[in-house]
């Protein structure tokens, strides 16, 4: 069994679950930390354990360019390469090909593009993506898909969904690593009937889990929830559901209420490097001069290494001087904050108080987001 629903909330679609992978069990709902190039930026594996991280996400596109499949294969896969023996999920690389690379040509087989690093030419389609994910040895592989931009006209969205479905089928038929789960991706933009169609066709192919893609690409918040609501009812209850690229606390809570189990986002690590802390009450620019003398922790009551040991005054000083330790401490805090947020969410579902918890935290967390 890949996924168990341990408890379903009585008033929402939220569920407490367990996802079994080749490198351990993941308690859901879960936020996954993005380790683009084989490291969650500025953190090492022991930091991930300490901050309560469960799953690391690796980016197939980035790892294909650097260090390349040969180096990862020589190490025996990404787990051994980066020293992380917990679960790893890899995306397909499609999103980065469409957003970062200089595209040359798209065909039924995939995309020819130039690396954004050195212009080197690559080809990535379902076959190449699945092969790279097999070499990486991720516990969860994502099918190769096209992530639609927002806004997107219906005709374009419809054509893209059909392409995504053909690529999903082709991806599933490729060889996988031992024990590797494969997730399909529901696309369809803001068109409910396309979302339903895509979900139903993916379920016919049959996957270990289902992502809802093309969300958090610049659309209004309501469209995000609509995309989830248009997809979830047509996905199996006994498979995990994953909204890609989402990491804002109250938005994750709203998606969980609509039946989603998994999330990932670069936000917590990226904004840390720009001097911003995620707190229960909203984002705080710790670099601001007003904290120069502040003897409190980055977040009151937080149990992370940063908050237990250092003051806002000190972290602010480090950030003002571009000291690596400053962004590292904030990264530790932000990752801990989101992992702790998900842990509290799981506790609330377990205790049957999810709706109250969601309302309470929403009030607290939307101040400055």
């Amino acid at each position: 069994m890949v996924f168990e629903v341990k408890k379903a909330d009585s008033r929402t679609r939220a569920r407490l679950g367990r996802l079994h992978t080749a490198h351990g069990t993941v308690e859901t709902p879960v936020f996954m930390d993005v380790g683009t190039l084989g490291t969650v930026k500025a953190l090492e594996p022991r930091d991930l354990v300490e901050t309560g991280a469960q799953v690391v996400l690796g980016n197939t596109y980035h790892l294909l360019l650097r260090p390349g499949p040969e180096v990862i294969a020589a190490a025996g896969g990404l787990h051994r390469f980066m020293g992380w023996d917990g679960p790893i999920l890899t995306d397909s690389g499609g999103f980065q090909v469409f957003s970062l690379a200089k595209m040359r040509r798209i065909t039924e087989e995939g995309c020819r593009f130039n690396s954004h690093i050195d212009g080197h030419e690559f080809f990535l389609g379902p076959k190449e993506s699945m092969e790279m994910q097999r070499v990486i040895g991720s516990d969860i592989a994502m099918v190769f898909d096209e992530c639609l931009p927002y806004p997107c006209e219906r005709a374009r969205a419809q054509k893209s969904v059909e392409q995504t479905l053909r690529w999903a089928k082709a991806s599933k038929e490729c060889p996988h690593a031992d024990g590797q789960l494969v997730f399909g991706i529901v696309q369809g933009g803001v068109y409910d009937d396309l979302r339903r169609h895509c979900a139903e066709e993916l379920v016919k192919i049959g996957f270990d889990g289902y992502a809802i893609g093309g969300v958090s690409v610049g659309e209004p918040e309501e469209c995000m929830y609509q995309a989830v609501e248009a997809s979830v009812p047509f996905l199996p209850e006994d498979a995990p559901r994953y909204v890609m690229g989402l990491g804002v606390m109250h938005q994750m809570a709203e998606c969980v209420a609509r039946g989603v189990d998994m999330f990932d986002c670069v936000i917590p690590t990226r904004i840390a490097r720009h001097g911003t802390a995620i707190t229960r009450r909203g984002n705080v620019a710790i670099k601001a001069a007003k904290w120069a003398f502040d003897q409190g922790p980055v977040e009151e009551g937080c149990e992370c290494y940063c908050c237990r040991n250092f003051t806002r005054s000190y972290v602010r000083h480090l950030l003002a001087c571009d000291e690596i330790l400053g962004l590292r401490l904030l990264t530790i805090h932000n990752v801990h904050r989101l992992n702790r947020f998900m842990a509290e969410m799981r506790e609330a579902i377990a205790e049957g108080t999810f709706s109250e918890w969601k309302e309470q935290t929403r009030k607290e967390t939307t101040d400055n987001e």
Copy 2:
């Protein structure tokens, strides 16, 4: 008692010692890690403990500019500000004023200069330096001095030594933090009689320890040892001796053989950030393409966190991608390497095998330095 000689080597001037400070006892010979702006770059206090670091060096000049005395005072001193409860040594700031700042005017009272960060005007002399070191609350404060360049004519050196002696006397007469030790600094360039004169005059004033300054400023290696040999015989046996700015392994061993107990240098942390590992057999550019597939650790047999957990292939990949984790792992390794080197040196002195150990390690370590 500030300093105990536990064992004197029978064939050299090397000695095994214990330096007692307000924040703990330091086993000597010791290498001190440079924490310029209130952090050993890329490391946190727990890393320092893990790598065997005993003393952190703070730079008075840098801390005066950022975050400034008010912020450090608000935290209750540098120990609490940076979360390090071990010994801290502060330099006087003189070296940076003369080497980094845009100098405006030097008088008997000190130097008027412009900050290298934002051009803001400051004044630093013995009085201001000792006051800043008092606010920092370092366990060991250094007197304000002039560090002579190499080469330097005799007349200039002589005049500077007299200035340094007057500043040393003025520094000693300033108020200090509770339990703060104060070290004098022997200057005199390459002139043996000036070194002797400076040492003798400093001893008359009376300090808790004595540094040998103006060493490792670009002079030939022999001049470095000569400066030590010209100073040490005129310094008390029961006080620690400190060569400032030196961190090359075989050079430290040679200085210990000549009676030196303490060292500091930015080299291990700086070259780590440029992708170079210090190993027993010399420096290794881990960023080099030849390590792309290498499954060995950065240094065979090393017990640091980096070498126990990661391969050259992985660290090289991180460095090639400018990932923070790469320079952090190499910093951990380099700091551990030098601290381990000093620990081995102490063991050799304790066992009466220092000379053999020095010859053996010299053969090994000078390959590529």
